[in-house]
């Protein structure tokens, strides 16, 4: 299949190094301590953060750091074919774990001992790159909840199809079976907290693909910063400062 046409355009009309449109909104779940919706093109996820609160299961309580829990789920209506998936299938437990580990790496857990932080992410619309979108949504929700973090984590994916590195794969490109590199970084500290890849890639091309994904993460980071600034300004004006 041709993923990049001779004019250099992808199936959805993007250039190879172009991201999909980003959109984010903070404070969408009123009951949660922090929440956000994050969209990357047609991929749309919602994240809600509760905590730091008392540990529900005392056996998991830790005396020197907070317990971070994460639950990932996909809405039944999020994909084209409606499937009734059991809660906690292999894919969602794996992504839950990935998100948990990524977020745990940036939360200053030692400041909140004997407490727990719950992160719930749900995919409302799936069009590739749900993993990245979930991490970005979770970061926004954590920042909204006022949970101390070393840095904001942002994530983006990149692939390699038809001999071209492609940024931010959509569902069709993702299901082509080619390599799919998901990167999560701490943009200010310049550290990688997540790196996953499906299928295989040559060493040299891997470098360029990962570089591309990292650039994507930085673009997401600057967008997230803008959203947070806008939100903080709004909070200020509502408070009448």
């Amino acid at each position: 299949m041709e993923f990049v046409n001779p004019e250099g355009l992808r199936l959805d009309g993007r250039r190879p190094m172009e991201m999909r449109q980003l959109r984010a909104e903070i404070g969408v779940v009123s009951k949660a301590d922090g929440s956000a919706v994050f969209e990357m093109g047609n991929t749309k996820v919602i994240a809600a953060v509760y905590g730091p609160r008392e540990v529900q299961n005392r056996s998991q309580q830790s005396n020197d750091q907070a317990l971070v829990r994460c639950e990932y789920s996909m809405a039944n209506f999020s994909t084209g074919d409606r499937m009734r998936k059991p809660k906690g299938d292999r894919r969602s437990t794996e992504i839950s774990m990935v998100i948990r580990q990524t977020m745990e790496a940036c939360i200053l857990t030692h400041l909140m001992p004997r407490s727990q932080i719950d992160i719930f992410v749900q995919v409302l619309q799936a069009d590739g790159g749900t993993r990245s979108a979930c991490i970005n949504a979770a970061t926004l929700a954590l920042a909204d909840a006022g949970i101390p973090m070393t840095d904001i984590v942002t994530s983006c994916s990149a692939g390699f199809l038809n001999g071209t590195p492609l940024l931010d794969l959509n569902y069709v490109e993702d299901s082509a079976g080619g390599p799919d590199v998901t990167v999560g970084i701490l943009p200010k500290l310049d550290k990688v907290t997540l790196l996953q890849m499906d299928s295989k890639l040559q060493m040299e091309t891997f470098e360029t693909v990962m570089q591309l994904a990292t650039e994507g993460c930085k673009a997401v980071a600057s967008y997230i910063r803008e959203v947070l600034l806008e939100n903080t300004k709004q909070l200020e004006s509502r408070r009448g400062v």
Binding site: A143, P148, I152, K188, I224, L229, V241
Partner: protein
Amino acid sequence: MKEREEENFVTPGDILGKALELKPGYGAYFSSHDKTIYASLTGFRSITPAPIDSEDQRATVEVKGHKAHGPVPEPGVVVTARVTNVMAKMASADIVCVGPKSVKEKFTGIIRQQDVRATEIDKVEMHSSFRPGDIVKALVLSLGDARAYYLSTAKNELGVVSAKSAAGATMVPLSWTEMQCPLTGQTEQRKVAKIDAV
């Protein structure tokens, strides 16, 4: 307002300053490997100069403007609590207010027999000091055990501030140990708080 411009806006991971010149306060953390202070919360940077008499002359840098968390009881503060259960050696209570602020989550406290009053602490009868449903003002003694905060009412101004009688009416305090029901005239035993006239 002017100083709160966009250049003062920070997100987690933004550099706030060097540790040689500044001290990290709320919403900031110190990274030891590059001796730099970073923000850990979203908000605006604010710098408070150190008090003149302090040894450390570095100014404190904080991040302000984020959401406020609910108040949390800490040792030394006066809380308002509702008694839920009275046992022979202690009474348990749900903390509803910390100082003037109402709490968002559930915090439980325990008033032990020896913490009810200041004198004759071994002769305290828990059942003639509190009843379930009473509203008490109490001092937080310590973080207590894993389950509850330890509270104390061993001061004149601490104890029951509002209680319902068996008939269901709000009782009137008679002395520091008695309250009377305005409907039936019955007196009940309580550890009454002495509240200053407003």
